[in-house]
Amino acid sequence: MSTEVRADRPAAPGGEAPYAIEMRHIRKAWPGVVANDDVNLTIRKGEIHALVGENGAGKSTLMNILYGLLKPDAGEILINGQHAHISGPRDAIVRGIGMVHQHFMLIPVFTVGENIVLGREPVENGDFYDRSEVDTRIRALSDEYGLHINPDARTGDLPVGLQQRVEILKVLYRGADILILDEPTGVLTPQETHDLFAVLRGLVRGGKTIIFITHKLKEVLEISDQVTVLRRGKVIGTVRTKDTNEEEIARMMVGREVLLRVDKAPAKPGAAALRVEHLTVNTEQGLPAVRDVSLELYAGEILGVAGVEGNGQSELVAALAGMLKPRSGRIWIGDRDVTEEGARHTRHAGLAHIPEDRRGAGLILSFSIAENTIFGHQRDAAFALRGMVLRLHEIYAWARRLIKQFDVRTPSEETPARALSGGNQQKVIVAREMATQPKVLLASQPTRGVDIGAIEFIHRRIVEQRDAGAAILLVSAELDEIRSLSDRIAVMYEGKIASIEPPDVPEERLGLLMTGGGGRQTHPAAS
């Protein structure tokens, strides 16, 4: 009986296995934007298929259509060769499609078990939630795929890597054969990414098909079998990973040659521009965040700060920028002690700050670009008569100059910042902060959520600032960014600087230091 069933499956060696998914001529438009324009996507059974593209290229729209969260305006979907009408996630789940969302769809106050079974809960005596059955089933699932987890743990208490494991289990519990993973590595440490890839390979061996959405080209090459590139809502092409390379994929994504490597000469460090001694900072809630950090930042160098987010980087930068008062320790810019000064005077001492929270701290979204370009300088004589009345003519002229110099794509300088894309918003901030030729530049996540083209541009500008003699502190969650830009790398772990490493330090060592391993020997030679 069972052998007959197996024979029915068209899995004959050498024969053409049917596609797991075929999306044909998919179109989805919103007023003013075509998110998907005649998109065709074919996914083979048992492959890891990477879907790449810049922000707004239409990757998420396409996957939301496949998962039933959005309805396409036109086009058809075939699953395992069968026409499928998917009008909601429920339909997608029934057809064996599961999605691990970029922002976890987990309820922090629920247990792991409750999150996994939600929507398909085992019940007893009518409608009573059957906890022991939940535990049994999850344990079986954990054993089958090697994804171990305590079903009774409170989900919100788990580290991000384990929460993602819960998401994957959730999808497997629903019997998914096709897993969509939306930017799954964005929040993971290198070690967690490594573990995730091992899990994905195991799932494929177990017969699953995986669609992997990402913008990290290295990961595409490492994990996928096929790559489909989207640009502005259209499919640019599908290539076998074996036959391609980072440069080609980047070119397909952006539509022109992209310089992935940052060209820079060796640093010529000068005098210390920023000195920090025994700095201790608490979060706004009063929890210790930075513990006894001392460092020197030299003119003409880029010091990268690596670390898993939440290890004190944000508070360190906030304290240096004068936005958060340190509990103890001292901060000097040049030979001026700015520990007690607020953001305004710290800026006068020559510090510029590209904040991590672009929309919250970097811009006022409803203000025009011109107004946004003078923040911090609104009292300067150049922009305000007696520091009171704004000189609009000068401000607009200034804004127009920055827009040109920094290649901000905008209809005019009077356009509200809200109307710009993320990359262009970031360019406005970068322009404002670099235009004053700062002595010290704090760049916090300067390219987060920004397209490859804009990343290239911002990286080049940061190196230019360095070469012009600025001392730059670069905080980034992207290890590649840290490694390609920095002249020295400081690793933060639990509020302390675990080590200072040379830029060519192996990634494995960085990963180890970021998670508290690797000892705490420093390399003074690297300075």
């Binding site: 996630p89 769809m105 929507g119």
Partner: protein, 316 residues
């Protein structure tokens, strides 16, 4: 000293606790409604209006049918209809839920005052005769237990109903699949939706439940306690229930404990004959308690994460 001994005398009397439990159970109904609605993610401050509407229509129905059960059904439907408006505005139109609730409270005062004048030709509706009143049930044998018998077993039927509903709601909310889904919808509707749960249906259901329960409370107040309709007769009880819901951290039993505190306050206010302090001071007690409880005693009371946030499928 005289006041203290008078107070003690009140606190050991069966009458006092009988009254406190009655008022606590009355408040527990709209409070439970609020718990259900907000657990599903719809902020609900409209219990006051839904209760008042229920009170009015229960009297109208009792006067015409001379049957308290018909009156209860009509009251619950009236409260449910008000809740449906709130649900429609909040869920379908994604409007601000505080504004919607506030509008319902104001509209309920206007509607009931107007209809009261209109139907009675400005004299006010008559008193409900005994055939239309909700009965008090003395549980045989148990009602003879000294003190406890009077407090627990000589109560209006709705008191028993209210306590039973609290127990059932607690069980449903925390032990069943339905409850798990309802809480999921209130914490993280996207997560529930992607798990194939119908967010809108659960939210509509929970909000309408809050209206049915508030309407029931209105009927209890009008044809179980007062036996007449007076303009704006709920006089803030819906808001007190709201405070009880928050104080009780959005759980049925927590809300009930808070309702009992207010019930005790109510009973104190009714003890003016025994305690020698000005009547108005005693009547202030429940409201002062509400303020104190909300300002200080509550501590960190975290609402469901998606409470008050309209849900739009697919983000944006």
């Amino acid at each position: 000293m005289a006041i203290l001994s008078q107070l003690l005398q009140v606190l050991v009397s069966g009458d006092f606790w009988q009254l406190a439990l009655r008022d606590g159970a009355l408040l527990a109904l709209p409070a439970l409604g609020g718990v259900l609605s907000e657990r599903s993610g719809v902020t609900n401050i409209a219990m006051e209006g839904m209760m008042l509407t229920g009170a009015f229509f229960s009297v109208v129905a009792a006067l015409s049918f001379h049957n308290p059960w018909m009156a209860v059904i009509v009251a619950m439907l009236a409260g449910g209809a008000m809740a449906l408006i709130h649900a429609f505005i909040s869920i379908r139109f994604r409007a601000d839920q505080i504004i919607s609730g506030f509008a319902i409270n104001i509209a309920a005062v206007g509607l009931t005052t107007f209809l009261n004048a209109k139907l009675s030709n400005f004299r006010g509706l008559q008193q409900v005769d005994p055939s239309g009143r909700l009965p008090t049930i003395n549980v045989p044998l148990l009602d003879n237990i000294p003190f406890l018998g009077q407090v627990f077993f000589q109560q209006n039927i709705i008191v028993y109903v209210s306590l039973a509903l609290l127990a059932i709601a607690n069980l449903v909310l925390f032990r069943t699949r339905l409850g798990l889904r309802l809480r999921a919808v209130g914490e993280h509707p996207e997560a529930a939706d992607t798990a194939g749960i119908n967010v809108y249906r659960l939210r509509y259901g929970a909000v309408i439940m809050s209206g049915l329960l508030s309407g029931l409370a209105g009927a209890f107040l009008a044809i179980g306690i007062a036996n007449i309709f007076n303009d704006n007769m709920t006089s803030g009880r819906g808001y007190i229930a709201l405070a009880a819901m928050i104080f009780g951290k959005w759980t049925p039993w927590g809300a009930f404990v808070a309702c009992m505190i207010f019930g005790v306050g109510d009973a104190l206010a009714a003890s003016t004959g025994v305690i020698n302090v000005p009547q108005y001071f005693l009547q202030m007690v429940p409201y002062v308690l509400a303020l104190v409880v909300l300002a200080g005693l509550v501590g960190r009371s975290t609402p469901p994460a998606a409470d008050g946030i309209p849900y739009t499928p697919g983000g944006e």
